[in-house]
Amino acid sequence: MSEPFDPPGEPWVRVSPRLATVRRIGLLVVWVPLSALLVVLLWLVQAWLGVLAAVVALLGLAWVWAVVGRTVRSWGYAERADDLLVTRGVLRRQLVVVPYGRMQFVDVTAGPLDRRFGLATVQLHTAAAATDASIPGLVPAEAARLRDRLAARGEATAAGL
């Protein structure tokens, strides 16, 4: 193995690129009104301060816009015989391995925006609160398949605490 975040023998299954669109819309909804408010307030104090804030806000938006794309492309998961692997992150990369036998329950969630774009999130929970295994940006059919498979595998290999 050459890289610490390499896939486990088989390639990562990537999440839907539509997730980037959903995240960007969410970003605009929060970012634009907030920065507009800040720009107006600063502009009332000093005109040049307002212009400066507008430039910074736009540059920041452009940067986060780009990072969203890379973040979404960084999500990946792989189902092995005994465990599920999930990787994600651009600035802080992470790889988590959750044995099926350790799974306590599986959540499938979809917000209004997710549903509009036909996406859902699958999240695994173990008895450890620190376990951080969620997979966003799945098409509902794949989310349902994954949930059922995880539940079936979990039941087959369940272990006591």
């Binding site: 890289e3 790889l95 988590v96 391995v97 306590q104 008895a127 450890a128």
Partner: protein
């Protein structure tokens, strides 16, 4: 709901039992205290004392009446595999606790309850946000008897209608009062507080500024009660081993007797504070799945201050089969000094086929021990700086508790190798793990062969 049986009925399985009849008095006393506390706060308001007196007087019968109703409506039954608990005056609740999932049983005796010869029994089951089935209050013998019965059933033994015998125990360690007090005096917070306070006094004396004396007071006032609280809470700390698990007893005013069945300890941390090192003392903490929410920190202490030998004996019981000579910890690469310049040399990880060992801390040494079969999930993470340096951090997740197994700043490829190895070791260990019902145990461990 059938009409309730007589209080303290014969304790055979299958019949519903009640809590002790003095329960409403003890509960009512709490309501009364709360009302008085609120009333005292209101004294400074514009409410006349007459009304307050009325409110307090009225709260007594109301409190007792509610407590009595609540007591009437509370029943429990110990079945073959479960404990059923029926509670609630307005909203009825019937709870079923699976005994094979039992994580710990605590008998808690607050000061007032002790005076009345009563005790509270708490069942801890994994996953709850607080104690799953608190049985408050029982008479002391009834609480002891019920604990023995619950543990016997959880272990997979059925004594039929005979009362379950209380398992014999072997004392592993007791913490003498002198050591407990000295250990508290040797904590950084207390020493720092006293030093800061004394410094203030000296400065005040030299400069003649009397106001500085006032500044010294808070330092001393914060430091002393914290140390005192530790001594009172851990007073007469005793750890014993018995077939139904580890027994922990302690407390001066409120006493607490915990029983953690075998195989319920998820992870252990041995802490060696700098100021204890010359004495060779350590503290042993553990993650137990049932202990969550308030009181978790206190409940998770297996030994507040123990000698190395005592700790080794304790570990041999808690983590049977542990042989730390088998585990050779490996350090981190030198480039980790950019991220942890002072303590990078102390970071190390080792494992054998049963346990994972993680070390950290140059001044305050911490050693985490984790049986592979208790691993819930394994992670590696890599921040931006770590990425530049080719480092990564390994996290091994267990149930919530004071022990968070984190091995920071490993070589990135080594971290991934460790991750894969841990996943494989955990899978192998789960396959041969001892059953939830621990009276069908695997081969006995061969004595304490642990060095710290």
């Amino acid at each position: 709901m059938t009409e309730a049986p007589v209080p303290d009925a014969a304790p055979d399985a299958g019949t519903f039992r009640r809590l002790h009849p003095l329960t409403p008095v003890l509960r009512g006393w709490k309501v009364f205290a709360a009302v008085v506390a609120v009333a005292l706060q209101q004294m400074y308001g514009d409410v006349s004392p007459g009304y307050l007196f009325l409110a307090i007087a009225a709260s007594i019968p109301v409190g007792i009446a509610y407590g009595w109703l609540s007591w009437r409506r509370t029943h429990f039954r110990v079945g073959r595999d479960d404990l059923r608990l029926e509670t609630g005056v307005l909203f009825r609740r019937s709870r079923q606790v699976r005994l094979d999932r039992l994580q710990a049983v605590d008998v808690v005796r607050p000061l007032v309850a002790r005076a009345l010869g009563l005790a509270e029994l708490r069942l801890e089951v994994a996953g709850g946000s607080s104690s799953e089935a608190p049985l408050a209050y029982l008479s002391e013998p009834a609480a002891q008897q019920l604990r023995a019965e619950l543990l016997a059933r959880a272990a997979g033994l059925d004594h039929g209608s005979d009362p379950a015998p209380v398992a014999p125990e072997r004392v592993l360690l007791t913490v003498p009062l002198g050591r407990l007090v000295e250990a508290q005096l040797r904590t950084g917070g207390l020493v720092g507080g006293v030093v800061a306070g004394v410094l203030m006094v000296v400065v005040a004396g030299v400069s003649g500024e009397v106001t500085l004396l006032g500044l010294a007071l808070p330092f001393l006032l914060v430091a002393v009660p914290a140390g005192l609280g530790g001594v009172v809470g851990q007073f007469d700390f005793t750890v014993a081993e018995s077939p139904d698990g580890l027994r922990l007893r302690r407390g001066l005013l409120e006493t607490r007797a915990q029983t953690v069945p075998p195989g319920r300890v998820q992870a252990v941390r041995v802490v060696e504070p700098l100021l204890w090192r010359s004495r060779g003392w350590v503290r042993v903490e553990a993650n137990v799945a049932g202990y969550v929410g308030e009181g978790q920190q206190r409940a998770s202490v297996l030994a507040p201050v123990a000698t190395r030998d005592e700790a080794a004996r304790l570990l041999a019981v808690v983590l049977p089969g542990l042989d730390s000579r088998q585990v050779v910890p490996r350090g981190v690469p030198r480039r980790a000094r950019w991220l942890d310049p002072l303590q990078w040399r102390s970071l190390a990880v080792g494992s054998d086929d049963r346990f994972l060992l993680v070390r950290r801390g140059r001044w305050r040494r911490e050693t985490d021990l984790l049986p592979h079969e208790k691993v819930q999930s394994v992670r590696i993470s890599q921040g931006a700086v770590q990425r530049r340096l080719g480092l990564a951090t390994l996290h091994v997740d267990t149930t919530p508790g004071p022990v968070a197994v984190v091995a920071a700043h490993r070589d990135a490829v080594d971290a991934r190798t460790l991750l894969d190895a841990e996943v494989a070791a955990a899978r192998a260990a789960r396959a041969v793990a001892r059953p939830d019902r621990w009276m069908q145990p695997p081969a006995a461990p061969d004595g304490p062969n642990v060095t710290l």
